[in-house]
């Protein structure tokens, strides 16, 4: 008994670590082999990050509180939140650009993503010429957006464009040609069509990579259990694709928010600023209107919107990385 008691005493589980003890360990870790020791190695990258990422962002936010034409000879005048007031209440284009950016993001999440998934599912089957189709669908993704813009602008040309020729051949409309880019109500969607054409193939490649990770055994066992194609997709494939779906969504959102080249190349934000978006409007205010205060106010709004959409992804991805340690 005594022995047992002794054993019980000696085999006592270690007491839970107290909080001060944890802190001490953390401090020790940082001090001895952690953060401080790694600082010399981190410093160059950290300095570059501060100079080229953090400082420009702070500078942009600071400039949004000033009135400045961009000339060194012209003093920067502090105006507080006046630029934001002007932006939200007097700028006739700002809300149009917000609306178009939102439309662009929402449509991007729905159309090119779904299209990419459908193409990936189709080209994941044993088809003749599968690799050729994969390449053909992916090629638009590697073209420079400004080249895509030029190409589509010519396709939309009301006098010589392919859509006009088709409409004339088929006697659709009044024979005056297709004028998608000329209609303020349609222009943004006409540019978006070019975006879908370019980005869907990229999404397809990501989904194809994700599909290679779907367990064949699970698919087969689902079929043995009598699941039809839709049920297999809904209950086996789609859950397995979840990480890929999130990555595709985030990349698509990021691509959408910063859309610039296609709009510049196809409409320049027109007609009548009807296809204007936040990134282009920020550039226009700063570099074309020479109003750097207002331009940076737009950039700051864009920054906040981007952070709202991207930070959850960063948290999720960090959490995922921690879970796998």
């Amino acid at each position: 008994m005594t022995k047992l008691t002794d054993t019980r005493f000696t085999a006592q589980p270690p007491a839970p670590r107290s909080r001060p003890h944890q802190k001490k360990n953390l401090v020790q870790r940082i001090g001895k082999g952690g953060f401080i020791a790694s600082l010399p190695f981190l410093a160059p990258a950290l300095a570059a990050y501060v100079v080229f990422v953090i400082a420009p962002m702070i500078s942009a936010v600071r400039l949004s509180l000033y009135q400045w034409s961009g000339y060194n000879t012209d003093p920067q005048v502090f105006v507080g939140f006046k630029n934001y007031v002007r932006l939200f209440t007097q700028d006739p284009v700002f809300w149009t650009s917000v609306q178009n950016t939102v439309i662009w993001v929402v449509l991007s999440i729905i159309i090119p993503t779904s299209l990419g998934l459908v193409m990936a599912l189709a080209l994941n089957q044993p088809l003749v010429g599968r690799n050729l189709f994969r390449s053909v669908f992916y090629i638009p993704g590697v073209l420079a957006p400004i080249a895509v813009a030029n190409m589509w602008r010519w396709m939309y040309n009301p006098n010589y464009g392919v859509f006009s020729e088709i409409s004339k051949t088929l006697h659709i409309g009044d024979g005056s040609g297709v004028t998608f880019l000329s209609d303020p109500k349609v222009a943004i969607y006409a540019v978006f069509a070019a975006f879908v054409w370019q980005i869907a193939g990229l999404n397809m490649v990501l989904f194809l990579a994700g599909l290679q990770g779907v367990s064949k055994e699970l698919v087969e066992s689902a079929r043995l259990d009598g699941a039809n194609n839709w049920q297999v997709f809904r209950n086996v494939t789609l859950p397995a694709l979840r990480p890929t779906v999130v990555i595709v969504m985030v990349l698509t959102i990021v691509h959408s928010i910063k859309v610039f080249d296609l709009i510049v190349g196809m409409t320049g934000g027109g007609p009548a600023q009807s296809s204007q978006v936040l990134a282009l409007w920020s550039y226009t205010q700063s570099f074309l209107n020479h109003d750097f205060g207002l331009g940076n106010a737009v950039a700051t709004v864009l920054l906040v919107v981007t952070l709202i959409l991207v930070v959850p992804y960063l948290i999720w991805s960090t959490k995922g990385a921690d879970d796998h340690r």
Partner: protein, 422 residues
């Protein structure tokens, strides 16, 4: 964060490029002065060759001065000036439009030197025409040296006019409207415009404003001394623009640029083009039959010429102002201007330069008549307004032209913006 990283990399690249692109005026220790001269690209090879020859000839006559010319595209030129002005990278001379919305913005930003002493020294007041001098004198003193004055008018296809039964060129806006209707009835596109560049269609709106409001009110409107929302002529002008864009412009005009729309004129598919005197060279390049093309002044009824000027400005901080003035004196001299007449504009800003009648084409002669008959100048409104006001003017113009805004509302919207952007 990847977005930010990419954005930061882009910003860094732009910053590095901006840092590297600056030239900078300097007085070399070797006794040679190097003039940094920033210009806007000249598209015609012959015009570029002519400028190179001018520089070579000047350097030959002035061994102590070198001229380093840096031509850039329009937006790159504007960006470079914005980043360089006020720094050691600024040029000694820069080429710019003379209107208050463009050249005037730089004068306001203290970029340009007042050249009054050089105007006295070189007697430039006597060299240039009144029309050419007016834009450089508008800020008090003398800012810039006139280089070229371009006029804009209506080019027309004589065959298409004849086909539509038009026997005389229009003398009033009403006659112009009637001619457009005849052309349309004959199945011909009356006039071509490319809407993506905004300033192309703007020329017609400016014309309607000058014609319907008269010179005095036009000037008051563009200098914010008259209310756009209160003047009936403004509503009439926008209404006329809407009529023209709906009935007489090439279909889909707003989705194409001016080069694309000009192809319609060159190809005989549109009867008129509202263009500047530089269009003569394009017509010849496109191998149009010169006998089929004519040009007539915009029938506003005010007798003023529609156009704009480009000037060469000496920067305020230049350490080589004397050498720069000497070069500009040579550049605008009678001999040089006579030799290059027609390459930059059909008329020279130097009033002693006369066209050689034997070499002149009919179009050049027509232009001589237009310049000769003009009494004063009204400038394109993208020269009159600052950049943000111009952009709003274009937005309203395009909304009206595409049916997205009632012409009755257009003037009030413009006035509201002008007041908020003061």
């Amino acid at each position: 964060m990847r977005l930010f990283a990419k954005a930061a990399a882009a910003v860094a690249a732009v910053a590095l490029l901006a840092g590297c692109s600056g030239g900078g005026s300097n007085a070399a220790g070797s006794g040679t002065t190097t003039l940094e001269w920033w210009t806007i690209n000249l598209t015609a090879p012959a015009a570029n060759a002519a400028v190179d020859k001018i520089i070579a000839d000047f350097e030959k006559d002035n061994p102590g001065i070198k001229v380093k010319r840096t031509p850039r595209a329009v937006d790159a030129h504007k960006d470079s000036l914005r980043t360089a002005i006020g720094t050691s990278a600024a040029p000694d001379i820069y080429d710019y439009w003379a209107g208050p919305g463009l050249g005037g913005e730089l004068v306001k930003a203290n970029a340009s030197a007042d050249l009054t002493e050089y105007y006295k020294q070189y007697k430039w007041d006597e060299r240039f025409s009144d029309a050419a001098l007016a834009p450089v004198k508008q800020y008090g003193g003398y800012h810039g040296v006139p280089w070229k004055l371009n006029g804009e008018a209506l080019y027309y296809n004589k065959k298409l006019f004849a086909q539509a039964g038009i026997t005389e060129t229009p003398k009033t806006l009403d006659e112009l409207g009637a001619a457009a209707k005849k052309l349309k009835d004959a199945g011909i596109t009356p006039i071509q415009f490319g809407g993506t560049v905004n300033w192309h269609v703007m020329r017609l709106l400016d014309t309607f404003l000058e014609g319907k409001c008269g010179s005095e009110t036009f000037d008051k409107l563009v200098t914010k001394q008259a209310d756009w929302g209160q003047e009936q002529c403004v509503t009439d002008s926008f209404t006329e623009l809407q009529t023209w864009s709906k009935d007489y412009f090439n279909p889909g005009f707003i989705g194409i640029n001016n080069d694309e729309s000009s192809a319609l004129f060159f190809g005989g598919k549109a009867a008129m083009a509202l263009e500047g005197d530089w269009f003569n060279a394009s017509i010849e390049d496109q191998k149009m039959n010169l006998a089929d093309v004519g040009v007539f002044s915009l029938p506003t009824g005010t007798s003023r010429l529609y156009g704009f000027e480009q000037a060469q400005y000496i920067t305020k901080d230049s350490k080589n102002k004397d050498a720069a003035a000497k070069f500009l004196d040579y550049f605008t001299s009678k001999a040089v201007q006579q030799e290059t007449l027609g390459l930059f504009a059909v008329q020279s800003v130097n009033k002693d330069v006369k066209a050689d009648a034997a070499k002149a084409t009919q179009l050049t002669k027509d232009w001589d008549g237009i310049f000769k008959d003009a009494k004063g100048l009204y400038m394109n409104n993208d020269q009159n307004f600052n950049q943000s006001q111009t952009r709003e003017y274009w937005r309203i113009q395009n909304l009206v032209a595409t049916g997205g805004l009632d012409p009755q509302q257009a003037g009030a919207d413009m006035q509201k913006f002008l007041e908020s952007s003061q």
